[in-house]
């Protein structure tokens, strides 16, 4: 079931009231996000990622098109009742303590006082901020603010959580903790939309990703499907003789990595099987055959470069 649906969503920003200059931040974007998935939204700066999140949360209005959360039109503010949000560079009221911030936003989400007390204890402890709960947030570091922001986004037990650069300013140990929290939330059935520049992190936690560029959806799919290189195989074998290596290079155009490891690009499965027949005929033991995988970063750069061409 799709928890978020957009249909031909377009947003045009005009640079001034009396100016004709305009920027198309989103261009007829149609996107579905399935429930109980961790969805990564990728794209270079100005791709329209934050615009999309802000439209879905009713912070900005679309120029045209339709968007729904939980089957409710986003213009209905009740559609945000089961939603959590951590914006990039958030600024909570500095005169509040960490605990007061959670109470303030929790009450705005319609939570009762007793429930709030319980949940704020639970989430402050989860993000390792328990001992700073009574400290004014103007004394918090960037990483502490980010942890508090994450607790705020999870507080009302949302079914859908939007996170814009969730690990921004957090140290490597903190990043790992945040990743674990997100994976844990997902295992509890929450749907999470992560907007991040840290592709290695997205690759670690996301099931599905979408790449936006100049407001257009240029690629969408599971991380597994998108990172696999079709018809390219990594073959691990027992030690290969000089003559076999030469044959692999000349006849099969293989890319030799070592004496027992090479990459083969085949145009079909039949070609791959012919190569296996040849190796077996030469009494070579095949230890493993796997499809070659790109990193998400490689995929991202390829896609954006192709778009630029």
């Amino acid at each position: 079931m799709n928890i978020v649906q957009t249909e031909n969503l377009t947003k045009i920003f005009k640079s001034g009231r009396f100016s004709n200059n305009s920027v198309k931040a989103l261009d007829n974007l149609s996107l579905n996000i399935e429930e109980k998935k961790i969805f990564g939204l990728l794209g270079p700066n100005g791709a329209g990622k934050t615009t999309l999140v802000k439209i879905l949360l009713g912070i900005i209005y679309p120029t045209s098109g339709k968007a729904e959360i939980f089957g409710k039109n986003i213009s209905n503010h009740q559609s945000r009742r089961r939603v959590g949000f951590l914006p990039e560079n958030h600024r909570f009221p500095e005169y509040m303590t960490g605990e007061q911030v959670l109470f303030f936003y929790g009450e705005l989400s319609g939570m009762k006082h007793t429930e709030l007390k319980k949940k704020s204890d639970e989430f402050l402890s989860l993000v390792d901020m328990e001992k700073w709960r009574k400290t004014k947030i103007k004394k918090y570091s960037k990483g502490m603010l980010q942890r508090l922001g994450l607790a705020q986004a999870m507080l009302n037990n949302p079914e859908l959580i939007f996170l814009d650069e969730p690990t921004d300013g957090v140290d490597p140990i903190g990043r790992k903790q945040i990743r674990d929290i997100l994976v844990n939330l997902n295992s509890e059935g929450k749907t999470i939309l992560v907007n991040s520049h840290l592709l290695s992190e997205v690759e670690l936690i996301c099931d599905t990703v979408a790449i936006l560029n100049k407001g257009l959806l240029v690629k969408e799919g599971t991380v597994e499907d998108l990172t696999v290189t079709e018809n390219a195989y990594i073959i691990k074998t027992s030690d290969l003789s000089e003559s076999i290596l030469n044959t692999l290079l000349s006849q099969y155009k293989a890319e030799i990595s070592s004496k027992n490891d090479f990459k083969y690009k085949s145009s079909s499965v039949e070609d791959l099987n012919l190569l296996i027949d040849y190796l077996r005929k030469e009494k070579i033991l095949i230890n493993a055959i796997s499809q070659e995988k790109n990193s998400l970063e490689d995929l991202f750069i390829n896609v954006i470069e192709q778009e630029a061409v």
Partner: protein
């Protein structure tokens, strides 16, 4: 629940900026010093010096003392301080990183503006209640004259004047997103613009040019009338309010200022609902 959360947030913000506490402290000290220096005893105090005059009215004298404490110069200072206190409420709410979290909550934009307005008015109501109650209790206890109308009318009308001015502060805060700019515009509106316009009757005797007078009239009715409302409150406290010319004529400044306030709030809600953040 949501309204109460927004109201509590605004009250916390007001308290955190320490202006509210400074206003309380400053006025408490000033009022206490003045009242400590004035001897209101009818036998030994200032009134005894005036009792030679057969028409001297002790009760009226005490009322005028109370009125002096909230007369034009204190009125100007009190309202300006209150305006300073609330002028940052909207620009700070609109700060990048703050407004996004607020709007992502299941709260309508209309209710955010209404609760910001009402919470500001509630804060100022209690601030005024404290100040006026302080004057009233001390003067009344010292003199034995308990004039309840002073408490009633001054708190009610001054809160009303503040509410009218605050509605304009909300709109300018939304438009400019700047505390300083919003404050300058509204202090200019309060003093000197509306203060000068309150002298419209006197101006009419000097200005003979009809189109100019028409423009002055137009601006006068368009803008709020804090000084005229203050004058109505004073005459109601004194008991000298005649209400000649019928209800609408007598209360015209209150009614037209109320229309101004509603228009400002309507425009604020409209603008806030239309805008991308």
């Amino acid at each position: 629940m949501i309204f109460w959360a927004l109201t509590k947030g605004t009250i916390k913000e007001a308290l955190s900026k320490k202006i509210l506490l400074s206003v309380f402290g400053l006025f408490s000290i000033i009022v206490l010093i003045i009242l400590a220096l004035i001897n209101l005893d009818s036998v030994e105090g200032i009134p005894s010096l005036m009792q030679a005059n057969e028409e001297f009215d002790y009760r009226q004298f005490i009322i005028s003392i109370e009125l002096i404490m909230i007369s034009q110069p204190p009125f100007l200072i009190i309202m300006t301080l209150f305006m300073v206190m609330v002028s940052s409420f909207i620009p700070s709410m609109l700060e990048k990183g703050n407004i996004e979290v607020l709007l992502s909550k299941p709260v309508s934009r209309t209710s955010i503006i209404i609760s910001k307005f009402l919470s500001g008015v509630i804060i100022i109501f209690f601030a005024l209640l404290y100040l006026v109650l302080l004057i009233w209790v001390i003067v009344s206890a010292k003199s034995g004259v308990w004039h309840f109308n002073f408490l009633l009318y001054s708190v009610f009308y001054y809160t009303y004047i503040f509410a009218v001015l605050y509605s304009a502060i909300i709109l300018t805060g939304l438009l400019f997103r700047s505390t300083i700019l919003s404050l300058i515009v509204n202090i200019m509106l309060f003093f000197p613009v509306t203060a000068v316009l309150s002298l419209k009757t006197e101006m009419a005797q000097v200005i003979t040019n009809k189109p100019v007078m028409f423009i002055i009239d137009f601006i006068y009715y368009l803008l709020p009338k804090p000084w005229d409302i203050r004058a109505i409150a004073s005459s109601l406290i004194e008991g000298s309010f005649t209400g000649t010319g019928g209800f609408f004529y007598a209360y015209q400044p209150v009614i037209t200022s109320g229309i101004f306030m509603v228009a400002m709030l309507f425009l604020s809600i409209y603008f806030f609902n239309k805008k991308d953040y």
